[in-house]
Amino acid sequence: MTTKPLERRAAPGTAAAFATYPELLTWLLDADSSQDEAVRQQRQDRVAELRRDRLVRPAVFVGTGTCGLGAGAQETLDAVRAYLDRHEIKADVIKVGCIGMCSAEPLVDVQMPGRTRVMFQQVTKDKVDGLLDAMLGGQIPDKLALAQHRHARLQPWDDVPFLDEHPFFAPQTRWVLVNCGLIDPAQIDEYIAHGGYQALAKTMRQYSPDQVCDLVEASGLRGRGGGGFPAGKKWKFARQAEGDHKYLICNADEGDPGAFMDRAVIESDPHRLVEGLVIAAYAIGATKAYVYIRAEYPLAIKRLKVALAQAEANRLLGQNILGTDFSLQIMIKMGAGAFVCGEETALINSIEGRRGTPRPRPPFPAVKGLFGVPTIINNVETLANVPMLVARGAEWFSALGTPSSKGTKVFALSGKVARTGLVEVAMGTTVRQIVFDVGGGIPNGRRYKAVQIGGPSGGCIPDQHLDIDIDYESLKTVGAMMGSGGLVVMDEDNCMVDVAHFFMDFIQRESCGKCIPCREGTRRMLEILQRIMRGRRREQGIDALERFHSVLHLQDLAETIRDASLCGLGMTAPNPVLSTLRFFRHEYEAHIYERRCPAGVCAELLTFTIDPDKCKGCTLCAKKCPTDAIVGSPKKLHYIIADKCVGCGTCLDVCKPGAVLKA
């Protein structure tokens, strides 16, 4: 085991030391190495070009992450190319990743030579011509402009707010997402020009593996995948473990429904992950690394493959990285869609080609993991934090955040908020700031009800706790947890019993079946919730009695599952129920005692009626009703037979005059 920095083949600072570095990285690391003024100028020009500090012709950037493409970015891109061809304009068209403002997609940035880069929102294909006509003519088109990027040497546009003043971006601290949506993810040179791979070069030159572990431990970086275990400590376990070789696994199996941070990072800035992986592998002494990524993310897989190939071609990966004795091979493993594979030992089983069931611990993976050798598993975001942490130092990193949680956290903000997307905030930011400042509050004048944090293992944060800090410990005090970063906002139209049922249904299906408390317990909990949500129509005999009986045992059952399950999935499985029960007991009571759903969601507890003043007798509802519960003849008032109605809401959807009432 080496304890000193790996041996280099040449003294640092000499030209030979850079012999195995990518050319661009050499220039940036050793800016004055060339005495020749012309060569130096040429290099500076190249970097300025890559950083887009200086443009010779207009550049059009189209955000083509999965969410951008979902909103029609491909058509926008085609329209931009067609426009430029038609007008024979020479301009660069760059496919960038996602800056994170999903609700404003498709996003298009335009930068004219000498001027700042301006971001435009909701640029569907029909708006492209107008946008480019105006911009190429030196005008900002009406209404479309979102913000402009601040730049010291470029002339700003009038009347366009700066990005760091925009309410979505102003409260954010973007460390992991700093390049997302700005650079071309398929160009390693752009990443390097923006400071990429400098941390790796610094690590290789200055630090021994032990020092890297110390540095990461001192920074206070904790696992971003949910558990929050200190990353440096984990690395040390593997470093100290006996073994000829070790493995590093990057967990990109983002299984939480409602979370998409890892996908966006890999799609928009894959080299950041690659750099983090190489540094982590160096620190723990791994020679082989796996990226376990969801098969549902084809675009992320494609971009990661491109990034790995580029890194290898530039000797940043593979044999003798940057001319040292350190070698690393990174392989991509596609997950086959099992939520439990987010659990470390289940993930290991899955890579080994088995059913993704967890193993009892100890032995911990850091001692005996993949194929029986010491293995470290880190989340994408944890690894993506590493390059900047190493480059700027532990003090810089730990200066931000709360006493127990350092740095930033990326959240996927979605649900009932005005602005959805990827949000990166400093630890210690309040949930209220995220929902109301960044997210812009609840649309359509509805009232806030709760935010669900941490996915199926997490909990809900109601109105009275909105001022809680984003911090691993404080979130636990309200029965929630940091989780991987899904933040789903709910308004008064969402039923909390239904949300609990949704998560129980999910967990029950995803329970691997290995241990009994989780397999049977989650099933029983789901049944209890189903009974609560069941209408009178389907109740027979002692069903009502069972309903009450089972509710009495809900808490007891939840605690048993939590205490007796084998892995994290089971231990946190009752959280959605416990958390909603704690803060929204009145909703449960309305369901159980009054047999009604206050939010009007639980279909079986709803009654539909027809407003006699509005019904025109069009017969559409009667035709579409799946249970023939609506009677009436043409041009006559229709009527819903309550006993036949299953509450599907089809009549409400099809009624044009809005005569169907829901209660």
């Binding site: 999965t66 997609e105 939480d256 996908r263 086959a336 869609g337 996915g455 899904g486 089809t650």
Partner: protein, 170 residues
């Protein structure tokens, strides 16, 4: 942009896929199953038997692994494979109703393929496009912010597409 799959799936050619995995061991099982499914659309019985011979693993073990993961299908897909996202964000924005509307319209349940082979329906845990919820994905093309009404129109557009395609082929 609507991709139209050929109507008849070619005879499964497993051996050419197996050739990509020389010296295959247990850990190649899942990638192998993934590639077979990608090429054939599903895992057929003969395919699994062939893989079992190749890897020297009992078919029961292979079925054990394949049925554990949500990704694997044992029925052929329809020409249009409809994936409905049931993530949290989609759920709070009404994806349950959207799923019901699709089931009613196609008259099939999740995990099934219609009798005419035109549509198959799958429920996925999360596509990762939560900002655009609720989302459905048909043959890899995303449809964002769908409603119970708009999905019917979307499905109709695929029906028309298929009809046009068949007319041209005839």
């Amino acid at each position: 942009m609507i991709a139209v799959l050929p109507q008849t799936t070619p005879e499964p050619d497993i051996d050419s896929i197996l050739a990509h995995y020389p010296q295959a061991r247990r850990e190649t099982l899942i990638p192998l199953l993934q590639e077979v499914q990608e090429q054939h659309g599903y895992l057929s019985r003969p395919a699994i038997v062939r893989i079992s011979q190749y890897l020297d693993l009992p078919t029961s073990k292979i079925y054990g692994v394949a049925t554990f993961y949500n990704q694997f299908r044992f029925q052929p897909q329809g020409r249009f494979h409809v994936q409905v996202c049931r993530g949290t964000a989609c759920h709070v924005k009404g994806s349950a109703a959207v799923l019901e509307a699709i089931k009613r319209e196609l008259k099939i349940d999740a995990g099934q393929t219609g009798r005419d082979g035109l549509f198959s329906l799958e429920v996925v845990a999360c596509i990762g496009a939560c900002g655009l919820a609720p989302v459905i994905c048909i043959n890899g093309v995303f449809h964002a912010s769908v409603t119970t009404q708009s999905v019917i129109k979307i499905l109709d557009s695929y029906r028309r597409k298929a009809a046009n395609h068949d007319d041209q082929a005839a």
